[in-house]
Every structure is written in structure tokens, then in C-alpha cells.
């Protein structure tokens, strides 16, 4: 930290003191002015109007230049040009009222706001677009009750659906969770509770594994299970590939919450003579339970949407197959991948409907994770707190009853 941009030294202009500049106070001479509370920060009318003016002016300029004068086309270019014009217009408008340093400050604020809004808009647009195009096929109930077994490429949307893919996705996800969660949480407990010299490389490797290209996980299972051991492609092989993807995610998220468990709880358990196994099982893990559930659910949300591991290992089929251990089994991502590449509108609509279903599953998992994971380790839910209160009152009453006896436990009236 060497030099700092200096603030405007000039007396506060209309923008800087807009909040405190009151019409009755400006003409006052020697009369003691009533002290007003100075508003620091916040948005003034000038700020809003400057942004609005720059936006409107640049929109008009953009429309004239882009649509009328120059031979461009396309919404994308229009928006980019509008934004550039807006930035230019905003700096000019700002320069009219503020000094250069304030202009720079405001300009950066506007850029930061717009990049945040851009990201929000992108997410909203993705969800909205997939929902919009997916509704066409998903509004027919048969989409959730039929498989594609008897449906040809030109059939109406009232025939065929994604039941096979939904069931396949759920079964593969369930199996993968079954494998990944114990392994992942055990690895997390190893890093935080056992530790030692080995914990550091394990942590580094887990972080690297989180970013393992999903296609490599698929290729690995393809090479081991299907080529080397000669099994058929199946939902089980796909769930193994998903396990490779989900395990590091669960591990990383679980380690973070296990580390947040206060050390005093562990020490209390050891002081009571608990072994390490008892401490972890009865103290550490229950304390971290909400966070662990979040870790698991986030891993599931990631796993259910993985396409490339499933693509290489599960095999595609249009038929319903409820047995993950035998024969090809399609899942939602694979269903989408397969049908949107076909040149038929009906198939693309079905692909989008499956995309909508997949997004729905991911959203439900994600929201579940947030709701459960909102609490810090050791923080209780309302129901838990009420139960503890009830228990405490009962003990209190028992103590009060016992106080009548020869050994008063505690004075009446004190908690």
C-alpha cells in the first residue's frame, strides 16, 4: 500500500453533498445551523439520473447507428454496442459533474454492477430458455410415464417419454451415492482427524481430482470394467464412473464442515475417556451433520448432471430397464445427448423436456442443500432447541422436587 487515490479536495459540489444540501440551510449566514445527520454513501437522485440518462442516450444512438446507418444485424452485437456506448456516455455525463477520479470510481462501480447483472441474467436466461422449450413436451403427462420403446422419430409428442431415463438416472445416482458417500466422508475424516504427514498430499490430490475431466472418468471405467474385465455396458458401470466424479466433491465439502467442529467438543469427549472412534462417531459427525448432508447433496447435484462418464459406460437404449446390473440403461443426460442431435423437431422437444426435468432435479437437490446447510455446525434447529428446552424444564422440575429433600440441588428461582 503506497499511494492512494486522493479524494476531491474541492468543496463539495452538488453531487457530493446532495444528501445534506437543504434549501433552507444554503442561505444561512451566522445563525447556528441545526445539525443534520450526514448520510454517508447511499444512492442520490443524481446518480440514478446519470445512469438512466446514459442508458437512454446510448440506446438511442445504438439504435440509429446499428439498425439504420451501419449494415449490422443480430441481437448480440446490438447489446455489446449498446453497452460500449453506455460506458462512453456515462463517463461523459459523469465528467460534466464530477472530477476525473470520481468518474473513474463511478465507472468501475457501473462495470462491476453490470458484470454481476450479466451473470444473473445468463443464469435466468438458461433456466428460462430450457424451461420454455421443454414445456412443449413435458406438458404431456405421458412424458413421465412412458419410455421411447414404441415411439418412432415422427410420432406426436403424446407418445413416448423419458420414464426410462428418469428411473435410470435415479438408480445410477443412488448407487453412486452409496459408493461415494462413505468413501468420501471417511477420507474427509482421515484428513481432519487423523491427519499426519499424509493428509497434505491427499488434500492436494483430492482438489486435483475435483477438476478431473469427466470424460477421463468415463474412459477409465470403460477401460477397466468393460474392456479389461469384459462386462457389458450397464447402469452399474455408469454409477462407478459417477462415483469417481462425486467422491472428491463430497470429500472436499465434508472436510470443510468437519474442520468447523469446535475442538473443545473433541477435548470434552476425550476428557470423558472416549476413544477416538467414539469421539468421531458420537461427537464430531453428529455436530457436523447438516454440513455433511449439504456435502452429500451437492455431490449428488453434480453427479446427476454428468454426461460424459455416462455416455461412455452405460450404453444407450430406448427401452425401459429397471435393473442397473444387467444391460444398457439410459439416464437423463444421455437421453438429452442422444435425442437433441437428431434432426426431428419432436425429438429435440423431448430432449429439452428431459433437460427441464434434469434442471428440476438439480434445483431441488441444490435448494435442499442450501436449506439444510444454512446452519453452522452445532447450531440447532428450532425443533431441536425446543426438545432441549423441554428436557431442561423436566430436569428443573425434578430438581425442584428434590430440593424438598435433605440435599437442595440449587436455590429456587435461579436457572
Amino acid at each position: 500500500m503506497t499511494t492512494l487515490d486522493l479524494p476531491p479536495v474541492a468543496p463539495p459540489g452538488p453531487a457530493g453533498a446532495a444528501a445534506s444540501a437543504e434549501p433552507d440551510a444554503t442561505g444561512a449566514t451566522d445563525a447556528p445551523r441545526p445539525e443534520k445527520k450526514l448520510r454517508i454513501g447511499g444512492v442520490t437522485r443524481d446518480d440514478v439520473l446519470t445512469v438512466a440518462g446514459a442508458a437512454a442516450g446510448s440506446l438511442a444512438l445504438d439504435w440509429v447507428l446499428y439498425e439504420r446507418v451501419l449494415p449490422f444485424s443480430g441481437a448480440f452485437g446490438f447489446l455489446i454496442c449498446w453497452y460500449l456506448f453506455f460506458l462512453a456516455g456515462y463517463s461523459v455525463l459523469g465528467r460534466l459533474q464530477w472530477n476525473p477520479m470520481m468518474v473513474r470510481d463511478r465507472l468501475v462501480a457501473v462495470v462491476a454492477w453490470s458484470s454481476g447483472l450479466l451473470v444473473v441474467a445468463l443464469i435466468a436466461d438458461q433456466i428460462g430458455y430450457v424451461a420454455g422449450r421443454g414445456r412443449e413436451a413435458a406438458q404431456h403427462l405421458n412424458f413421465f410415464t412412458e419410455s421411447m420403446e414404441h415411439t418412432g422419430p415422427l410420432d406426436q409428442l403424446t407418445s413416448g417419454g423419458a420414464l426410462n431415463a428418469i428411473v435410470g438416472s435415479l438408480e445410477q445416482l443412488g448407487l453412486a451415492t452409496l459408493f461415494a458417500v462413505p468413501l468420501g466422508i471417511a477420507a474427509a475424516v482421515f484428513m481432519s482427524e487423523v491427519g499426519g504427514r499424509a493428509a497434505r498430499p491427499v488434500r492436494t490430490l483430492v482438489e486435483a481430482m475435483t477438476a478431473l475431466p469427466s470424460i477421463v472418468a468415463g474412459l477409465f471405467i470403460l477401460g477397466v470394467v468393460i474392456i479389461t474385465f469384459g462386462f457389458e455396458k450397464s447402469g452399474f458401470a455408469a454409477s462407478l464412473a459417477l462415483t469417481v466424479m462425486m467422491m472428491p466433491i463430497v470429500t472436499r465439502a465434508a472436510e470443510v464442515v468437519i474442520r468447523l467442529v469446535p475442538g473443545t467438543l473433541r477435548e470434552a469427549s476425550y476428557a470423558l475417556g472416549g476413544s477416538q472412534w467414539r469421539t468421531v462417531w458420537n461427537v464430531v459427525l453428529p455436530t457436523a451433520r447438516p454440513g455433511l448432508v449439504t456435502a452429500v447433496v451437492l455431490g449428488m447435484a453434480r453427479g446427476v448432471g454428468e454426461t460424459s462418464p455416462v455416455l461412455l459406460t452405460s450404453g444407450f437404449t430406448s427401452q425401459f430397464n429397471g435393473n442397473p446390473f444387467d444391460g444398457h440403461q439410459v439416464s437423463l443426460p444421455l437421453y438429452i445427448w442422444n435425442y437433441v442431435k437428431q434432426p426431428y423437431d419432436g425429438m429435440i422437444a423431448r430432449g429439452f423436456a428431459a433437460g427441464l426435468t434434469l434442471m428440476g432435479v438439480v434445483l431441488v437437490l441444490f435448494v435442499t442443500a442450501r436449506v439444510i446447510g444454512g446452519r453452522r455446525p452445532g447450531q440447532l434447529t428450532r425443533a431441536q432447541r425446543r426438545r432441549i428446552d423441554r428436557e431442561a424444564r423436566r430436569l428443573e422440575a425434578a430438581a425442584a422436587g428434590a430440593a424438598a429433600g435433605p440435599y437442595p440441588l440449587r436455590p429456587q428461582g435461579q436457572p
Binding site: M1, T3, L4, D5, P7, F72, S73, G74, F76, R104, V108, A109, A112, S114, S115, G116, L118, V119, L122, I123, D125, Q126, Y129, L183, A187, V189, E193, V194, A198, A199, V202, V206, E207, A208, L212, P213, I215, V216, A217, L219, G223, T228, T251, E267, S275, Q276, W277, R302, G305, E306, T307, L312, P333, I336, V340, K341, G351, L358, V362, F366
Partner: protein, 343 residues
């Protein structure tokens, strides 16, 4: 908990350690012998911890094992050959690898400014009440499946971006050679290109870079922030002189992590590109490729040499991403531990 400061007073009944005389009292090392249950427990945990090594090792081992056939067939030309004709024993990654890296670089060029801007926005400019919601939203963006990004890119983005791409090709192509489009001026000359794939991949790495950068930005010390304000700094002055220098290491690590993710991205790329097999010099032209897209599009070929060639390509991808990710992890850990701000 430990006994480091235990007084050396002679406790009755506590057996002295035999090596020390009465005037050489040292604190006893308290070692509770692990119960058999604990020993089993630790063993199981250690096994789980080392399973990570086992999995990564097995991945490398099987990719090498399965890829040897192909590597033996073509030898070193695997690294220099651009074509991918496995039946003719004429294949290599000299086209798919650089083309994939090109997609990742384009993705970074777009994603890094937006992601850092968003991270600064969330940690410095957004109203405090909105911050938690925004952080959740970025996490949600990271959880959106890549096939959905692919759908969006293929059906929503591509038709709308063509006008912009054509404008770049026609007006900037003459001055900036790699933006030129040499094939005819019809819509399909501009689709399925390296650039469009890069744009879609950039959306997928924005949440990764954003959330890591936001994390380091929000850890910038409060005292220094207030110091900057007290010296009369504007908010941007504070961000530039306090927050950004503090977060530099973390941001570099986040960008590297984003690069690793972009290299490995498969499905969205495979949906959008139309594969080609020569090193790309003009990013706006139809035709692109990457190792992961190659694997996703070609794994259906049934002869064992083709599969083996894909395994070898996968091995290269695995090694590269592992390298980038481990380096990124080291950079991020150093920045988290505060080593980066020691100067």
C-alpha cells in the same frame, strides 16, 4: 490438553521415567495407547484417504495400459500427426490438443474479466442483503449440468451470435488475420466454430473463477480497507490498492483452475463443434476440436486400435489437467495461508 508445561514437582505414585535422575526432571510425554478399536478405525480411515491415490493411480495405470497399443503403433508421430485415421495407422494429437487449448484460451479471455468483475461486485459493491443470495446463485451456476450449457449454446446462443461473428469476420478480419473467415459468406461458415465453443465454455468456468476470487477478496483485511478509506480513498481506490493486491495469488490460482476445467470440458463442446483435424488458425470458421470432444464423438468405433488411440489421447488430457490443477491448488493454498501477502 497437552502436558507441555507440566511442573516438575514429584508426584507421589507417578512412576518416573527411568532414564532421568531426580534433578533432570523433564515433562513426561503423555501417550495414550490406542485401543484396538481405535487402531482399526484409523486403519479404515487411512485406507479411505489413500484410496484417492489408488483411484488416481489406477486411472493413470489403465490409460497407459490401454493406450500402449496405439502408442506402439504410431510411436512419436502421435505427438506430431494432425490426422485421426486409425484404420490407416495414421493418427496423432497435433491438431486436437492445440485446438482444445485454443478453446480454453478463448474461454479464459471472455470469462476472466466477467468473473473478476462479478467477484468484486459480490464482495464489494452488492448490497449486503443480496450477497448470500448471489453467492448461492453462482454456486447454482456451477451445478448446472454441462449438457444444459450445450443445449443453450447450440439452440439459443449460436443463432443469435452469428450476426456478431459475421461482423467481426468482415470488418476486423482484414486487420486481425485470425478473425478472417476464408470460406463462403453463408451462415454455416460461421457456426460450430472454435469461438462459439469458447464462449459456451467461458460460461461454464465463470462460476469457478468467480467463487474462488470472491472468497479471497472477502478475506482482505478490514483494517487495511478502513485505513484506505480513512486516507480519503474512493471505493475503487480501496479495491485497487487493498483488495486486488491481497487477492492476486488466489485469483491466479482460480484462473488456472478455470483453465484446467475448460480443457477438460466435453459435452457442451462436443454438441457445438463440427470436428476437424487440422490445427486451427482462424477461430471464427466452422470446424473445431478438442481431445475430450474427440473421445466423446469417436468412442463408438469398435475396433480395439481406435479405442486404444482414444485412451492414449485421454492419457495426455489427464496428465495435462492434473498438472494444471495441482499447480493451481498449490498457488491457491499459498495465497490462503497468507504467504502471498508476506512481502
Amino acid at each position: 490438553m497437552t502436558s507441555a508445561a507440566e511442573p516438575a514437582a514429584p508426584y507421589a505414585g507417578v512412576p518416573r521415567q527411568p532414564d532421568h535422575g531426580p534433578d533432570q526432571d523433564v515433562p513426561r510425554a503423555i501417550t495414550a495407547p490406542a485401543t484396538p478399536g481405535d487402531r482399526v478405525f484409523r486403519g479404515v480411515l487411512r485406507l479411505a484417504g489413500f484410496s484417492v491415490f489408488a483411484i488416481m493411480g489406477l486411472i493413470a495405470f489403465f490409460l497407459i495400459l490401454r493406450g500402449t497399443d496405439a502408442l506402439r503403433t504410431v510411436g512419436w508421430s502421435f505427438l506430431t500427426e494432425q490426422k485421426w485415421q486409425t484404420a490407416a495407422h495414421n493418427f496423432g494429437i497435433a491438431a486436437v490438443l492445440p485446438n482444445g487449448l485454443l478453446i480454453a484460451v478463448i474461454a479464459l479471455v471472455i470469462a476472466v474479466p466477467v468473473a473478476i468483475g462479478t467477484a468484486i461486485f459480490i464482495s464489494e459493491y452488492a448490497p449486503v442483503r443480496l450477497r448470500a443470495a448471489l453467492v448461492s446463485l453462482i454456486d447454482l451456476m456451477a451445478a448446472i449440468p454441462s449438457i444444459v450449457y450445450g443445449l443453450w449454446g447450440l439452440f439459443f446462443l449460436q443463432p443469435r451470435i452469428i450476426g456478431f461473428v459475421r461482423w467481426m469476420a468482415n470488418h476486423l478480419g482484414d486487420t486481425i488475420p485470425f478473425l478472417k473467415v476464408r470460406i463462403g459468406d453463408i451462415n454455416t461458415s460461421y457456426t460450430s466454430s472454435t469461438f462459439i465453443a469458447g464462449v459456451v465454455v467461458s460460461l461454464m468456468i465463470i462460476p469457478i473463477i468467480t467463487s474462488l476470487s470472491r472468497e479471497v477478496f472477502s478475506q482482505a483485511p478490514q483494517g487495511e480497507r478502513e485505513g484506505a478509506y480513512a486516507l480519503g480513498s474512493t471505493r475503487w481506490g480501496m479495491v485497487r490498492r487493498v483488495v486486488l493486491p491481497f487477492g492476486k495469488g488466489g485469483v491466479i490460482g482460480a484462473v488456472m483452475l478455470g483453465f484446467g476445467r475448460a480443457m477438460g470440458e466435453t459435452i457442451a463442446v462436443a454438441l457445438i463443434i463440427s470436428p476437424n483435424f487440422e490445427a486451427i488458425t482462424h477461430i471464427l470458421e466452422n470446424g473445431a476440436n478438442s481431445i475430450s470432444a474427440l473421445i466423446a464423438l469417436r468412442f463408438g468405433e469398435s475396433d480395439s486400435l481406435s479405442l486404444s488411440a482414444l485412451m492414449a489421447a485421454g492419457l495426455v488430457l489427464f496428465a495435462l489437467t492434473l498438472l494444471v490443477n495441482v499447480l493451481a491448488g498449490i498457488v491457491i493454498n499459498r495465497s490462503r495461508s497468507g504467504a502471498a501477502t508476506a512481502d
